[in-house]
Every structure is written in C-alpha cells, then in structure tokens.
C-alpha cells in the first residue's frame, strides 16, 4: 500500500502534498460517491425502511379499549311453549330405567314437544365424579343414553353432551359409563377442556359474569338430566344444583352463598326439559359418595319443565322437607317454579 520511506504514524503529512479534490474516476457505481442510480436506490431503500418503521409503530400503537360486560353474550331462554292441557310432570317407576324414561316423556307429550327438527340440543347429565353407576354419584348411563336416543329420534340437528366435572374429566366420563353410552346413542361428547369455555353475562342477583361451556351458549334447547343426591352444604343436589356443571372459572367461590348462586344459574339457563334420575339415589356422604351402603335403589324417573317441583319431589325421596331446602324455597321465590309439585298436572305411572 505505501511507497518506500513511508511517513511514520506520528508524522503529519503537510497538506500541500495531498492532491486536492481527488476523486477516483473510471469504474462507476462502486467507486463513485453521491447520487447516481445506485445511490438513488439506496436512498429509496432507507426512506422505505424509515417510513415502514413509522407506519408499523403507529399501527401497533396501543388502543385503550377493554372488553366490557356489555359485549359478552347472554344465554337465551330455552323453554318450549306448553301445549294446552299438557302434563307438567310425569313420574315413572319400574325396573328398567330406559323404559321409565320413555314412559315419562311419552306422558309429557313426547320429545317432539320439546325438540323440533334441526334444532341444536345440549344434554347435561351429572358427570361430576369419578364413580361407577352403582355408587350413584353421577347420572345413570342407561338413562342418559335413552334421553340421547329420544332427542336424536326427534330429529335434532346437533346433540351435544357435556358437563364440567370436578374430578378429572377423562376418568369421570369413563367410569360413569356415560361417555360410552352417549356416544353409542349418537351424541357428540364435549370434554370440559380449557378452550371449551366462553365468558358470558350471568345477569343474576348475585352473579354477574362467568365462564360457561360453549354448547350452552350455542344450543337452541337444553335438557337437564340430573341425579338425586344428598349434599353437605345445600342439603341436596338435584336439578337446580346441576347447573354448576356448566361453569368453569372459580366456581368454588359460589359456596359462599350457595342457595342464591344455584338460583342465579338456573335462571340463566332456563332449560327446556328436566329428567330427574332417581334410579339409584345417594342418601349420605354426598355429592361424592363412594360407599354402596349410602345408595338406595328407587327405580324412579321424574320428568317435567318445572325444576323447583321436580326438586321438591326429589327432596321427599331423600327424606327431606322441601321447605327446609334453601334453594328450593329461593327458586320458588324467584319465580322458577312451585314446590307444591302435587298441585301441578302430574301423571304417575307405576311399575
């Protein structure tokens, strides 16, 4: 690079020796400074990058809006119209649970009274606990299967079956026998995964918003298929209490005011039809159960559209006075039904 006798690093070359205004000529672009075609391209690229950064910055800028309660969906009223002179409640007794279901529904006017062709239906049994059918902690699988069959036969467009279990869903859905029976009967079983819940307006007296399994947001008809059980806090768990199973979130908080929470949930869902499973009932150590000594065989099915009345009937099976059960009394006060189930148009069918 340097010629012989280079000036050392400490020597300053007198300015006069340096040719002024030197510019390499010959080779274009790579050697030239300033604006030529390549230069224009470079300026253009830089300008594009600059403008792009500004645009990106402004575009990604935070906007203050947050989802308001008003934007949340509300669960619709699933009740069906009552034909004139129709039966309100049917109680069927007999050794075959599926036959009891059929008899009770027939007495009410058939499933066609509740489910129209093409409608989307969600069936909500009690699949809360990791127990066998004999332990009477979940709804009897034969009862569930028969309900599914009747709904499918009525021409429903979509039949979901779901519950938000307390124990792990895989074990609850399996050991209860319900998943297998329901699938065989033609239902789409929905597991309560984290992604299956939607935030909705509960709009109750106590509860305002909550996370609910999506079939309850999307269905046209909701069918409640609970079992009759004793419960330590609320005294009993039957139709009205079964709606705990639509909830995700921190539903364990509801026990701080259990009776009013039950009513708020039942008022939110407004189901189409309830089939109360009293084939086997749990008399003690509920709602989990475990010991067969706490189970009583009753071979009874009660169906109707008045959950308060059905629960009052169920309470008597447990040896309780319905007036002593907080949520039954509150349910009546809230206008969800009557606890004088005998005063309704009831049909009892013997074994």
């Amino acid at each position: 690079m340097s010629s012989n006798g280079p000036p050392g690093p400490y020597d300053k070359v007198p300015a006069a020796q340096v040719p002024k205004g030197t510019q390499t000529t010959s080779t274009p672009s790579a050697d030239t400074a300033g604006m030529d075609r390549r230069g224009v391209l470079r300026v253009g690229a830089t300008a594009a990058m600059a403008l792009g950064s500004v645009a990106l910055g402004l575009g990604l800028r935070e906007r203050g809006s947050r989802k308001q309660a008003a934007d949340l969906p509300t669960i619709k009223d699933h009740r069906a119209d009552k034909p004139a002179g129709a039966t309100d409640m049917a109680i069927a007794r007999g050794p075959d649970p599926a036959a009891n279901v059929r008899k009770a529904i027939e007495a009410l006017g058939g499933m066609g009274r509740f489910v129209r062709r093409g409608e989307r239906v969600v069936i909500k049994p009690n699949i809360g606990w990791n127990r066998t059918p004999e332990q009477a902690a979940n709804t009897n699988p034969d009862v569930v299967a028969e309900v599914v069959r009747l709904v499918v036969a009525a021409g429903a467009g979509k039949v979901w079956l779901t519950d938000a279990s307390v124990n792990t869903p895989e074990q609850c859905f399996g050991r209860s026998g319900i998943e297998k029976a329901a699938k065989a009967a033609g239902a789409t079983v929905v597991r309560p995964d984290a992604s299956a819940f939607r935030e909705v307006n509960v709009s109750g007296k106590l509860l305002r918003t909550g996370d609910v399994l999506f079939p309850f947001v999307e269905a046209d008809r909701v069918i409640n298929v609970p079992i009759v059980k004793q419960h330590g806090l609320s005294l009993a768990s039957m139709s009205l209490k079964n709606w705990y199973g639509v909830l995700g979130g921190q539903r364990v908080k509801l026990h701080q005011n259990i009776h009013l929470s039950i009513i708020d949930l039942a008022a939110m869902v407004k189901p189409t039809l309830t089939i109360l499973d009293a084939t086997r009932i749990l008399l003690a150590n509920g709602p989990t159960g475990g010991s067969l000594a706490d189970v009583k065989q009753m071979d009874t099915i009660a169906a109707g559209n008045d959950e308060v009345a059905l629960d009052a009937f169920g309470a008597t099976l447990l040896g309780l006075n319905p007036n002593d059960v907080g949520f039954i009394v509150e349910g009546m006060k809230a206008g969800l039904g009557t606890l004088q189930w005998q005063s309704l148009k009831t049909v009892e069918l013997g074994g």
Partner: protein, 502 residues
Amino acid sequence: MFRWLRRSYQVVFLGFFLFFVLLTTAGLIRGYDVQWLLEFDPLVAVTTALASHSLHHALLWSLVIIVPTLILGRFFCSWICPMGVLHHALGFLARRRRPPDRVKQNAPRPSHKIKYLVLAVMLGLAAAGSVQIGLLDPIASTWRGLATSVMPALGNLAFGMYQGERHFQWGTLITLVFFGALALNLIYPRFYCRVLCPLGALLGLLSKFSLFRISKNPEICKGCKFCGSECQGAADPQGTVRATECMVCLNCIESCPRGGLSYRFLPPVKFSTTKIDLVRRKWLGAGVAGAVAVPFMRASDGVEPRPNPARIRPPGSLEERAFLEKCLKCAACMKVCPTGGLQPALHEAGIEGFWSPILIPRIGYCESNCVLCGQVCPTGAIEKLTIEKKVGEMPVRPPVRIGSAFFDKGRCLPWGYQTECIVCEEVCPTSPKAIYFKMETITARDGSQKTLKMPFVDLDYCTGCGICETRCPVVDRAGVRVSAANESRSPRSSISLTGGKI
C-alpha cells in the same frame, strides 16, 4: 470539532440520565419522564411489540432513534448511550500505550458477531411471548444496576440520607453482573458493546441502510493504520469500514495524520461493508432456539393458575401473561417505591419472571395513596393508575387489590399469645378498615379474666397492601401475612364472591 461535540453529548446525556435516575424517588420525581432513555430505546419497542402485539404509546419515541440511525448509522452508541460512555471511560484502563498495540486491540474479531446471535435469541423469545431483553439491554441493565446495587450501597453508606436504608434481595447477583459487564473492558475497550450488546446489534442491522458513512480517500491513505488505534466500534477503518460496527465516534477522522477519512453522504460502496459474517443458518437457529425455549420455561413454572403466593405484583400490573410480555426488569419501580417494598424476584415469578418486581411486605408495604410505580414503568407492564382508581370507593367501586392478608393464629399476639396488640388494625389504610376486631374474654395465665381485641380480615375490603405485615411486631415471620390471592388483576385469583364474577 465534531468529535468534541460528540464528547459533550456523551457527558451531557450521561449526566442527564444519572440526574433523572437520582430524581426517581418519591420526594423528587414530580412529573419528570425519568424513563426517557428507555422510551427512546428501539430494542425495548421492538421486543415488547413482538411479544404483546401492541406498542405502548410512550415507546413511539424510539422512532427518534430508529429513523436517524437508518440515515446516519450507529451514532447512538457513542453519542448517547450511557452504558457506552461508562464502557468507553473504563476502557481507558485497558488502553495500551502504543498505537500499534491499540490497533490490535481495536481489530475486528469473529466474536463481534455474537451480539447478533444474542439479538436473534432475544427476538425469538419475544416472538414466543417472553420478554427477557431487559437482562442484556444496556439501558435497562444500567437502570437495574444503579437502582438495586449502586445507589443503595452509596445511599446506605451516607446514613440513608438519600432514600432511607435500602436493601434488595440477592442484590449481590445484580452487582456482580453489572460490574462484571463493566470489568470486561479490561480485556479490551468496549468489550460489551462489541461482543454482547443486543441494542448495538439492532442498531448495527439498521445501519445497513445508512446513507452517511465513514469513508476513506484511497489516494491519501498510506496504510499507517493510525485510524484504527482509536476506533471504538472495531469497525476496521484501516481496512474496509464496517458500517454495522461503526459507532460514528469520529475518532478515526481526527486520528488520521493525513485527513484521509471523512464522514460523508453515500460514499463509494467499495470502501465500506455491511456484511455481518454470519450465515443465515446460525442466526435463524438462534432465533428458533429462543422461541423454543419459551414452552420449556412455561412447562417448568406455570404462569397460571396456581402461582407462588409470594408473587405479589405492583398495583396496576397487567395480568401475568401480559405482564411478562412487557416487563423489562429495569427496576425503576423498585427504585421509586417509597417504602422499598418492591424487590427483584428470584424464583417467586418463575424463570421468566427472574428479577421482575414483587412486593415483599416484610421489607416494605404498598403505600395506599401512591401510584409512582405505574408512573415510571416505561412499557406499561404496570399501568398508570390514579389514586381514586387505586383506592376505590367501597362498596360502590372496589379498590385495586394486589393480594389479601391472612392471620397466622399461632404467631399473632392476641391469637397465639393472649397479648393485646392490633397494630395491624391501627395501620390498615382502608375506610372502613379491612382488619376489624371483636372483643373476646379469655382466662390469662394467672387465672384472671382478660378482654382482648381479636383481629379479623374482611376480604372485601383488604387490598393486600401489606402494611399489617410490615408493622407486625412479631419481627421475623409476621403474625399477619399477605399473599397474592384475590389480586384484582387476575380473575382466576379471586376468592370472594362479592362482585359477582365467577
């Protein structure tokens, strides 16, 4: 001439930076935007925007650095960056005396491309939702080092006159990292800036588009390499100037005995290079490694739903996932907190939350009429609150809750030792008080009847501020303690049914 301007900028901006850091204390802060430099920091804007898919409005200021860098090159590193100034100043200690030795020190090395890999890893982490950039970003690191290490040490030596006695848990770790980074300059000057700094890497990438660059006049250059003896960025002015490494310090121009170097608009391309000697495979791999690390970190410490009860976040904090997409761990909130209660987390917030702020009530409580932490947070991880919003108006509007108190009845004086106390009720700041008492008559040790005030917590009113725990006379593990449960920022955390949200 411009070199002296650059030196003045360095001094002025460093001074201004330190001045505002000093002002970040409850008594002095007023409305100063003490986070101006982090708001200018393009790396903060880019990583938080990548992770949270939105840009905090204050971070739009980064365009003031991004756009000029696209035009002028990596001037930030030698004109503005306070960490750079510190490194440059400390680099003097390692500076060789003879210029040819200095040329060797400032020679470009293969290790200088490591910072681009560091940047790639950080961007990968951010893209997967985890902001860890604050650990290596020079400005966030300087903030953290000053706030939790240098100023407490100096302040405590000065009898706590500045901010009272300050202690930060395992602050020695932060001290070691901070001074360790500075000590690297003993290897060669600006070691951190050349080898590790991800901000330098980002600015270097932007410099690929720079229109103004250092360029040499080949007719004049005699190859003395004197220019390289003062080059801060190891940009090889003696060879082909590396525009991505050049920090526009202008030293080379002044060093050249012949005046053969100049900083000019669109110099001939052959005299400068923007190549970073890194194959695509390597930096893509680094980015992917960063992104892939996130699910592994999250499998190790779940962010939700059962967090560590000690993970009490500052009031106004976003929900945890969103918080980790923004928190830089710059420790400004820890510095400004008037009681010194905000501390750098170690394990309490999991691996991702290492050095993020948590409240340790035994050290300091959250003053109810104070919203300073939100005021100083540069990325909005802690949102700005007003005192009205924070205090609420019970029962009409609930307050901002950061946790809830619970009594340890074995350690509380009335409950466990039949001794009168209720300091907790006395200092509880809410109206009505979240800690209330009921009279109870007990039989004392000597057989006499004693009436005590027994304290209880009302969850609907408790904000989790922690003053009860701070002031509890049971000096080691307090008789009443605060945990993060029931914090209002996380719906999954609520305990009480009041309010009606399941």
